[in-house]
């Protein structure tokens, strides 16, 4: 392993890794951006129901070119199709699903996460505007919240921090973090490093992570 060059995961690889953690039959809400890609990598033999907060459950992939229907879009305003068994509902019912803890997994983008699982992902620090959309309800309401993000900012600053400095989305919500170099659980006693990208050591990940990571042994390499 000392000979493997450090190889951070690409966006598609992070998405593929996340999809491995969707249990068969899970109801999953995917946020805009990298989370949406996870739909492309569902492991064979698993049936996943996708929920979209604008009022869809059980939607499928994008339609063929020329068959797009402006009345059939997901929360990211992308054209989708419906699978057999899918259904429509209004937004109050849709958020009864998220707020009421009926959605098994939400995958959200992240700007910052802290060791208590607090999440910031809706507004850049100091920005005049930001868009909450469904983020606060979904982060607070899903049974498990997975965050998908690069491990550091463009400037190399940690996004996994001791205290959030960006506007908060929800407290104590994140259960697992997937980055380009690690998979980290948010446990009752803080962050537990589970897996690392090829060529990375636990120490490498710790070096770009502000809070202390714990791990029982040298963590596994992410299977991609």
């Amino acid at each position: 392993m000392a000979n493997t060059p450090r190889t951070p995961l690409k966006r598609e690889q992070i998405a593929r890794r996340i999809a491995q953690d969707f249990a068969d039959g899970a109801i999953v809400n995917l946020g805009i951006g990298m989370p949406t890609l996870a739909a492309n990598y569902i492991p064979a033999g698993r049936e996943i129901l996708f929920h979209s907060e604008n009022g869809l459950l059980g939607f499928g992939p994008a339609p063929e070119k020329g068959k797009e229907d402006p009345n059939l879009v997901n929360a990211g305003k992308e054209f989708v199709t419906m699978l057999p068994g899918g259904c429509f509902f209004h937004q109050a019912d849709s958020f009864s699903m998220t707020r009421g803890k009926h959605v098994d997994v939400a995958v959200l983008g992240g700007m910052q996460v802290n060791p208590r699982g607090d999440l910031a992902n809706w507004k850049i620090k100091g920005a005049e505007l930001g868009s909450i959309g469904g983020a606060m309800d979904i982060a607070r309401g899903a049974k498990q919240v997975f965050v998908a993000m690069t491990h550091t900012t463009n400037k190399g600053e940690p996004k996994i921090v001791n205290e959030l400095t960006y506007p908060i989305t929800a407290l104590k919500c994140v259960t697992r973090i997937y980055t380009d170099i690690a998979v980290i659980d948010v446990g009752p006693n803080g962050l537990v490093l589970r897996e690392v990208a090829p060529g990375y050591s636990a120490a490498d990940v710790q070096a770009v992570t502000e809070p202390k990571l714990t791990y029982e042994k040298e963590p596994a390499v992410i299977a991609i």
Binding site: E47, G58, G85, C87, F88, M97, G100, H102
Partner: protein
């Protein structure tokens, strides 16, 4: 594969334990999950708290459970009725407790429970004995009382058709409390006239999206 179909009414209710709280759909004789109730009576569980609009209807609906002393407490809106003589006798004998709730407040409390809304302010009941001991608040010039969301260990609902994802449609006025109860039961069990293939329900016509339902079972004539 997500398959919520259960083979028999008996199997569907096998894990209901003593002391469980159960939402039971129906209004008068319409939309009552008679088969699930009969199966539960045979299963033998006791010390139940039931939430149901009525207090039993002659020897049907929840009356058999009350008659056989399985019910410790009833939360309902309409306990005083000629047809609720079994409940009346047990109540006057001090064998069953009663919490009386206005019908719209009951419907809303159940929906709130299923939607992750912990409480709400309603004008219904202000100035009446229903308001006794409850927090009051004037909002927009309207005096209100605080009511709380209501959840239960199980929901027994009655529907016309269901599929293996748990999607349901109802039969006319038998819809009544069933959709909200499906939302608020940790385990919602739907007794249906028929199970249909996935895709057999039009996505525009589904009334209860499958996310709210954990088990679907075809009705059986247990008294035949």
């Amino acid at each position: 594969m997500l398959n919520k179909i259960v083979n028999s009414l008996a199997t569907a209710v096998a894990d209901v334990r003593d002391g469980a709280t159960i939402l039971v759909g129906g209004f008068g004789g319409a939309g009552v999950p008679e088969g699930l109730i009969t199966a539960l009576l045979r299963q033998g569980t006791k010390d139940l708290t039931l939430i149901h609009n009525n207090a039993g209807r002659d020897e049907t609906s929840i009356a058999p459970l009350i008659k056989h002393d399985r019910v410790a407490k009833l939360i309902c809106t309409f306990p005083e009725a000629k047809t609720a003589y079994i409940f009346r006798d047990k109540f006057l004998a001090g064998k069953i407790k009663l919490e009386l709730v206005p019908q719209g407040t009951l419907a809303e409390r159940i929906r709130a429970g299923g939607s992750g809304i912990e409480g709400f302010y309603t004008p219904t009941g202000v100035g009446t004995e229903v308001a006794e001991g409850k927090d009051r608040r004037e909002i927009n010039g309207v005096m209100c009382i605080l009511e709380y969301g209501l959840r239960a260990d199980f929901a027994f609902v009655r529907a016309r058709l269901g599929d293996r994802w748990g999607n349901l449609v109802y039969n006319q006025a038998s819809r009544n409390f069933n959709p909200m109860m499906a939302m608020a039961g940790k385990i919602a069990i739907a007794e249906v006239d028929d199970v249909v293939e996935l895709g057999g329900l039009n996505p525009e016509h589904v009334v209860t999206p499958g996310i709210f339902v954990q088990r679907v079972v075809k009705t059986e004539n247990l008294n035949g």
